[in-house]
Symmetry: C2
Amino acid sequence: MNVTIKDVAKKAGVSVSTVSLVINKKPAITEETRQRVLQAIEELNYYPRRIAQGLASKRNGNIGFILTDYHFSRAEPFYTKIFLGSEFEARHHNYYLLLTTIQNKFAQSDIPRFLLEKNVDGVILAGKVPTGLIEHISGYGLPTVFVDYTPPKGKYFAVLMDNIDGAKQAVGHLIEKGHRKIAFIGGDISHPSIQSRLEGYRQALMEANLVFNEQLVITSSPNTTDIDGYQSTCALIQNGEPLTAIFAANDAMAFGCNRCLKEKNIRVPDQIALVGFDDVELAIEMEPRLTTIKVNKEDIGAIAVKSLVEMLDTNRKINGKILAPVELIVREST
Amino acid sequence: MNVTIKDVAKKAGVSVSTVSLVINKKPAITEETRQRVLQAIEELNYYPRRIAQGLASKRNGNIGFILTDYHFSRAEPFYTKIFLGSEFEARHHNYYLLLTTIQNKFAQSDIPRFLLEKNVDGVILAGKVPTGLIEHISGYGLPTVFVDYTPPKGKYFAVLMDNIDGAKQAVGHLIEKGHRKIAFIGGDISHPSIQSRLEGYRQALMEANLVFNEQLVITSSPNTTDIDGYQSTCALIQNGEPLTAIFAANDAMAFGCNRCLKEKNIRVPDQIALVGFDDVELAIEMEPRLTTIKVNKEDIGAIAVKSLVEMLDTNRKINGKILAPVELIVREST
DNA sequence: CTGAAAGCGCTAACAA
DNA sequence: TTGTTAGCGCTTTCAG
């Protein structure tokens, strides 16, 4: 019905295996025959059937992409963009991404089908995923890449954003602007990312020979939302400890912070400068527009796929982590 | 290496074809042998390899899901949720969704690979897609479903939300509440959805024997954003035409509307009641919380897949459209 | 109602 | 350097 490798072989006057070798860019083919084959392919508008290649080669050319439905469908399209970057990169390596969402709690019943049906060569896990699932997956022995999350135990390979460096850039920027009394509002300090950002804050101060003043570090809020930023800032101001700048652990908190300052008639950036982290879409809507640390989500996704494909190609697993670079975006709040 | 259909056959003491018949739920199998096979499958923890099934059956069990990257990654997770619903439904029918994003303008180079490689049995197109692509796809003769968009020409099958009914519900609700002077702010009236919502507004008035007052219909804004809602409302108030309620063509406009009313110290809902459309995530954040029309995005996705699967199973295409039901969500603004 | 056997379209030894 | 051929794991006639 459709044009197959046989048709190409016939047209080019060679055997199917020769065509196969050409398709798969194997060496040991004369340039001349290669051209003949290529031309036949072109003329017949031939594309190898994925499924047949897969069955014969025992690789199916699919990568499973798993994330919780919460992460996938929340308003800030963080993971969506990571997926976007992944999908784009996967194309270049001629892989398909099979996206599936899972519940927050692990249930046998929502083990991704592509695992059961052995339909993927490797797996990407984005964001926090239930450990039960992680353990289950490790049973398949598939190359696996974690994105923006590291499992609590075991060996793994993860692509993370460089939180420490981002925080250092943020604080360094403030220092450059002449600020010496810089506060940090952090919220939920149990979160690894927040910890790293605090660490970056600490390092930046140290490298500039500034003292780390505990009075200027607020990590008492339970979460890292707008509200937490608001409350932390209020607490900070109440403290009375003099300060000229605030580094918020993320943009959401920066928004809350800004709201509090506005209420207290403290002008940003004149009286207090403000830096966030994440560069969410709303950062540009804040008044004043928020200086923040940008994380290139598409890049993270691309790196994850690239790493996974490398494991697939070389047929060996990699451990460790890759830190995706982050970037300071200077706007009006500093 | 892995457990195959042969292993199952051997274990159950039957032939592979019998096992195949059982797997595919074909009739003409004794209940007794069926049970034997099922048990063998269970004991061996057997899952048929997708790829092998596909090659043999000439169906690959994949559905292509195409949308523009703009639609996919924007903050309001409308299409994301549609995809979510689709993916979920696809699971039940044992199909995989191959998601790919495309550019807004059609380019030969980003023709989805799954089309070239004949890797999908059908296609779902979500949101507005370039007509060039539509034409290209129709060349494959694959069953196709449009979601939240209807192509400008040709036969098609589309899943749309019931805009007219939604508008009728919204306005009907206001009428029930005793409102008689109800305004409509619409923005870009060239958009089919907006047109339908205006039509629903008109019908609701008519059915309640209320006059359609052109002074109360503002469709002069170029878009349908927050800003447009703001401007339209200001214009409306300036008009001087008495009114007690406003139906905004979407939530974004309702937000702008609310902002304008707040500035003019007009209390919602006491002085003017307000209804939106879409039930975006922010609707619940508005002050007062916005009464609006909810569109169940997951349902839309599910309907699309269900329809497509039906075409696939019965092997014939359907034309026409399905209107997904919408629902009035009463909150504080009315 | 069940089994034998011929492919699906391709890859990958192995030969030549 | 290229061709022959045996599968990959399953579905699907066709017999029986």
